[in-house]
């Protein structure tokens, strides 16, 4: 047993001079890292229970707490790192696969940070977005490639079904079950106010959220939880989840203890049963089967809803995307491997898939080579961290971006990567009522609206700098990007020149 003892990764540091023993930290910590010692009338801390979520730090009225990374160390080594060693101890002790959450912390290249954005000087004018018109409205959906006219010569203006977004950002799929009801409601309210969409994820749609339908994307995943004709018709679009960037090729699993009350009702499975999403859709073993699922959904909704197919960014992504584009899908969502998750095997999350930047660039280029880029819209996701990432994604070729980790952070998440434990002290990734109530949907909405409003302003400012006054003129406009510190191969895949060229 002593072999498995792992020294805590974090230490709770309490400034005893400031601590008033109000016991707020104890009350706030669902992991029970803080306790009151009656004998000494002082607070004690159990470091091993701390997940570094900062709830106690933020709530301490005396600012008496901080969390520091332990300086405890193994004999340092670049190969056998602390994580490499402790993972083995954990697995040797338990026999289990390592489970974790949120996006990979590994030090992979972030290509966003190696792409610089252009601005106008002299040869064409930059634009002040506060005082001049600047458009960020986006339509997602198939476009006609030919014009039809009626007998009198008027253009037939009936479009394929579209999603209209006031700004090219959507909240990506996070299921009710993995997220709390209040988190879902915050997203729904914010999407409505912002004129964008949030995504139900694969856990069905809570009946109280149906009236946000015009701003909702409903998801159909392999588990088909909560999927029925009313659900399919409730949203602005339907997303078929084929994969997720954080765990390509892996299904999902909501543990039985989270399938309670409304989660059970919404997923339409009995309380206390496991909610398993198989790795594949068992009616899709090949690309032509995807076409079948796309059309069952279109038939079931009278061709009124655009169908999104979400796929994880994997090695052969551009060929897959080409197949998806020919499946009748209206929109393809590509999720890069740095994307988040409520729970995923650590080895999958940290080792499988490719970055969204390369996947997006390669898909956009491939669809253009094949002349079919116009027949499908692209949503890129998987670690879009700020408005400059949005601008870069659109310049590489995306129509819009999905954000999820950013949205969670806006609602109060501190990225402790412990969602799978179900004790989210911020009331986001938990079903425990006393924790859920910590997130006020109105407050959550306000912060999400703030974030997207701020990003949209920044996007406009960058567009203005480039002399572009409408987002569609930025889409695929790769001349607006230059690489920095990239190899020629990377530049070729990204389809951009190096800075200075």
């Amino acid at each position: 047993m002593p072999k498995d003892y792992i020294y805590p990764e974090f230490e709770i540091v309490r400034n005893e001079g400031r601590c008033t023993v109000c016991r707020r930290c104890e009350e706030q910590c669902a992991n029970r890292a803080h306790a009151f010692d009656a004998a000494t009338s002082r607070m004690t801390a159990e470091d091993a229970r701390c997940v570094d979520c900062h709830r106690c730090v933020a709530m301490c009225p005396a600012h008496a707490l901080k969390i520091v990374q332990s300086s405890h160390t193994f004999r340092p080594g670049a190969n056998w790192t602390r994580d490499a060693i402790t993972d083995i101890h954990r697995q040797a002790g338990s026999g289990g696969a390592l489970l974790t959450s949120m996006g990979t912390p590994k030090d992979y290249p972030v290509y966003w940070d190696k792409l610089l954005i252009n601005a106008s000087q002299v040869t064409n004018p930059s634009i002040d977005p506060l005082r001049e018109p600047m458009e960020t409205k986006v339509f997602l959906g198939q476009k006609h490639t030919h014009i039809q006219r009626d007998e009198s010569g008027r253009i037939c203006t009936e479009l394929h079904p579209q999603i209209t977004l006031a700004t090219p950002i959507l909240f990506s799929a996070m299921s009710y079950g993995s997220l709390s009801y209040n988190a879902h409601e915050s997203l729904a309210r914010a999407a409505q106010e912002l004129g964008i969409c949030y995504n139900s994820g694969e856990g069905g749609l809570h009946e109280d959220l149906y009236h946000y339908g015009p701003n909702t994307i409903v998801q159909v995943a392999s588990g088909r939880f909560g999927v029925h004709p009313g659900y399919l018709k409730a949203g602005a679009a339907i997303e078929i989840k084929m994969g997720q960037g954080a765990k390509p090729g892996i299904g999902g699993h909501l543990p039985a203890e989270k399938v309670m009350g409304d989660v059970s009702r919404t997923r339409m499975i009995p309380q206390g049963t496991e909610a398993i999403s198989p790795a594949p859709h068992h009616d899709i073993y090949s690309i032509e089967d995807l076409r079948q699922l796309v059309y069952t959904l279109k038939e079931a909704t009278d061709y009124k809803k655009p169908i999104i197919v979400k796929i994880a960014a994997v090695h052969n992504i551009s060929a897959i995307a080409s197949g998806v584009a020919r499946s009748g899908a209206d929109i393809i969502a590509i999720d890069g491997f740095r994307g988040g998750t409520g729970a995923a095997p650590a080895r999958i999350r940290d080792n499988v898939g490719i970055p969204i930047e390369l996947a997006l660039a390669s898909v956009d280029a491939r669809l253009r080579e094949e002349g079919i880029r116009g027949s499908i819209s692209i949503i890129a996701g998987g670690s879009i961290r700020n408005s400059a990432d949005v601008v870069r994604a659109i310049a590489l070729g995306a129509d819009a971006v999905y954000i999820a980790t950013g949205a969670l952070l806006a609602m109060g998440c501190h990225l402790c990567r412990s969602c799978h434990l179900g004790r989210c002290n911020w009331g986001i990734a938990t079903q425990l009522p006393e924790l859920v109530s910590r997130l006020d949907p109105e407050e959550g909405k306000r912060r999400l609206v703030n974030l997207i409003t701020a990003w949209t302003y920044e996007i406009k400012e960058m567009m203005g700098g480039m002399g572009i006054n409408s987002i569609e003129a930025l889409k695929g406009n790769r001349l607006m990007l230059r690489g920095i510190g990239l190899t020629q191969k990377e530049l070729d895949i990204l389809g951009v020149l190096h800075a200075g060229e």
Binding site: G96, R224, P278, H282, D283, Y295, E299, A300, T301, L421
Partner: protein
């Protein structure tokens, strides 16, 4: 109302079925048209010919009769209503269905009843008159699957393929057979049907006979095995927190 389906593209055929309003429809000359009656509510649809894949997907209360064989993914994610097939059905019959019933007179392909689930008053029923293919009831989470194995009684094996009930974590599978499939996973328990089980199965067998003929009592005079997920061994304990 009679609809001549011959040479109609699926979209047009379905438009005509929907345009019939609450009137029941009979389709003649169906030849592979997909998505028939997708999401359809309360009316009867009779199909003569071979309906294409995803027949009755998301079905929401309509009653479908197929005078012939059905192809793959029949009743995909079906919610309510019934499908009866005077013939065989292809792969993934009843995939993820949550309610209603599917009765197949003959055999069924691979992965019949995969990931069926029950919820509240919704309890899906899949009855296969002949034999089922491999992966019967994979990921089964709720509802009931009955394989009668009519005509396969003398084969000396259960009327199923390989890997029956793999990943099953809810619901129930009846096999009208004396033979336990040899490769049941440890997570699936098998037992002889008790009186209560037989009573439950009888109702569905009687319905089968009402549709396709036969004597339910006679059919039930046969050994009946019940497969359920095991309480003890599940798929837990596979993970440890990093």
């Amino acid at each position: 109302m009679l609809i001549q389906a011959k040479d109609l593209p699926f979209r047009e055929l379905n438009r005509q079925i929907n345009a019939a309003g609450e009137q029941s429809v009979t389709l003649q000359g169906v030849m592979g048209q997909r998505f028939i009656a997708s999401g359809l509510k309360g009316k009867d649809v009779e199909i003569n010919g071979i309906p294409g894949n995803a027949l009755g997907a998301y079905l929401d209360g309509a009653h479908i009769t197929v005078r012939g064989n059905a192809q793959d993914a029949t009743g995909d994610t079906m919610n309510e209503g019934s499908i009866r097939i005077y013939g065989r059905s292809g792969d993934a019959t009843g995939y993820a269905m949550r309610g209603g019933s599917i009765y197949v007179q003959g055999d069924s392909g691979y992965r019949a009843g995969i990931h069926m689930k029950a919820y509240s008053a919704k309890y899906p029923v899949l009855v296969i008159g002949g034999a089922a293919g491999s992966f019967l009831g994979e990921y089964l989470a709720g509802g009931v699957i009955i394989v009668l194995g009519i005509g396969h009684e003398a084969e000396g094996k259960a009327p199923v393929g390989y890997f029956t009930g793999t990943g099953m974590y809810g619901g129930k599978i009846f096999l009208r057979s004396a033979h336990v499939p040899h490769d049941l996973p440890p997570q699936v328990d098998v037992r002889e049907a008790a009186a209560q089980d037989r009573e439950e199965a009888y109702a569905h067998v009687a319905q089968y006979c009402a549709y396709f003929g036969g004597d339910p009592h006679q059919l039930m005079e046969h050994r009946l095995l019940v497969l359920t997920p095991s309480e003890e061994s599940s798929y837990k304990q596979l993970y440890c927190a990093q």
